[in-house]
């Protein structure tokens, strides 16, 4: 359940769309949004990218909403913080509590930061929700990112999902034995869980290495690119 985003990335209308175009579009749009730092442009890009994600990639509104909620919650908190505790200059609003005031400057910071993040989030979403990681890594490789880094990332991506399944099983087992009953038992259970995962991961890495070796692995994983 945790990795809905990975599932969505593999199952939407834009999955097969050229990943290079998607990656470049994302990077250029992000840079433009940051460089312009214009409130109207932020809103414009938010609307456009949301339409692309919802209407063209046909990602359900619920998933998109879920993608936005957690960063948005953080964003609201931090911007309230910026609004009340930062800045100097002209006071434009007095709360009357502990001398906390909103100044010209802090208002400017809060609004611009809020809008900037608002504009950037859907751009990240566009890449994250429509492009599977393996394709992104494939693009990065042709952009001269060192081969070894891509290889490690690809292997990691494989192993992550095996781990998550194991953790799920173990946590259910611990839970059914009241493993997360109190603070201290939660700590102990979590410690046991993590160290077991670590020990298992060592075994797994050995198996992985053997299986790679037995298939003639020389430090490169050739990928088949199906013709469109």
């Amino acid at each position: 359940m945790k990795f809905d985003m990975d599932y969505i990335a593999h199952n939407n209308e834009l999955t097969e769309f050229n990943p290079y175009v998607k990656l470049f579009l994302t990077i250029i749009l992000l840079i433009v949004t940051l460089a312009l730092d214009n409130l109207y442009f932020d809103v414009f890009i938010f609307v456009v990218m949301s339409i692309v994600i919802l209407a063209i990639a046909k990602i359900s509104f619920r998933s998109y909403f879920k993608f936005l909620t957690i960063p948005m919650a953080f964003l609201v908190i931090t911007c309230i913080f910026l609004l009340f505790f930062f800045g100097k200059g002209e006071v434009i609003y007095e709360t009357g509590i502990l001398g906390i005031v909103v100044t010209n400057d802090s208002f400017h910071y809060a609004v611009y930061t809020f809008m900037r993040v608002l504009g950037c989030l859907p751009i990240l979403g566009f890449l994250a929700l429509t492009t599977p990681i393996s394709k992104i890594l494939h693009c990065l490789r042709s952009l001269k990112i060192p081969k070894i880094m891509i290889e490690i990332a690809l292997l990691m991506y494989n192993v992550i999902f095996i781990f998550l399944n194991e953790i799920d099983t173990m946590q259910k087992a611990q839970n059914s034995r009241l493993g997360y009953h109190s603070y201290w038992t939660s700590f102990k259970s979590l410690g046991a869980l993590v160290s077991t995962i670590f020990l298992r991961s060592l075994d797994k890495s050995e198996t992985l290495q053997h299986s790679l070796d037995s298939r003639g692995y020389t430090g490169e994983l050739p990928i088949y690119e199906p013709r469109k």
Partner: protein, 221 residues
Amino acid sequence: MHIMEGYLPLNWCIIWFVISFIVVAFGLYQIKKIVDETPESKALLAVSGAFMFVLSSLKLPSVTGSCSHPCGNGLGAALFGPAVTAVLATIVLLFQAILLAHGGLTTLGANIFSMGIVGPLAAWLVYKGLTKANISSTIAIFFAAFLGDLLTYVATSFQLALAFPAPSFGSALTKFLVIFAVTQVPLAIGEGLLTVIIWDRLKAYKPKLLDKLGALAPNEA
């Protein structure tokens, strides 16, 4: 806490990217050397990276009620050294941005700097220093994880204060530090305790491996 996508202005994004790039390039060079010597270690590195990623999806029971996750960079640094941890953290942060919408692409450089470079480096220095001083590795790993976590937040506060220097850099830094101290000190203690439990079990089950990685205190090896 990861800095969100779009939170930093463009100039700071670029500066942190450049700084992180240098360190990560050095880490890559080190990894290349390790892999050339022992080709088997590539799988180990990949699995350790996956371990770091998975750690961050576990919830840590915290005293303040806010739920957060362990970063595992203290443990990583004590086991593999800071340069290798920086590269693994880079990949982990990229995955977090794309798979979990945690952090972001433009702020990747800044996040690498705080979580992949400052935290692990501090943890590693503390760990090496304490074990050299003949303190048992269990106590050393607690302080390594605790301080590694804490300095990550100090670094994040620095980055935020530099980006929002209002009314001045100093006062902004103090404000960010105070806010982080309230929420993150209990978390750092939590991560320290968790790392100790993990470390104890590792010592009990795989002492040879820890010895091989050169991660044990001299008097315990």
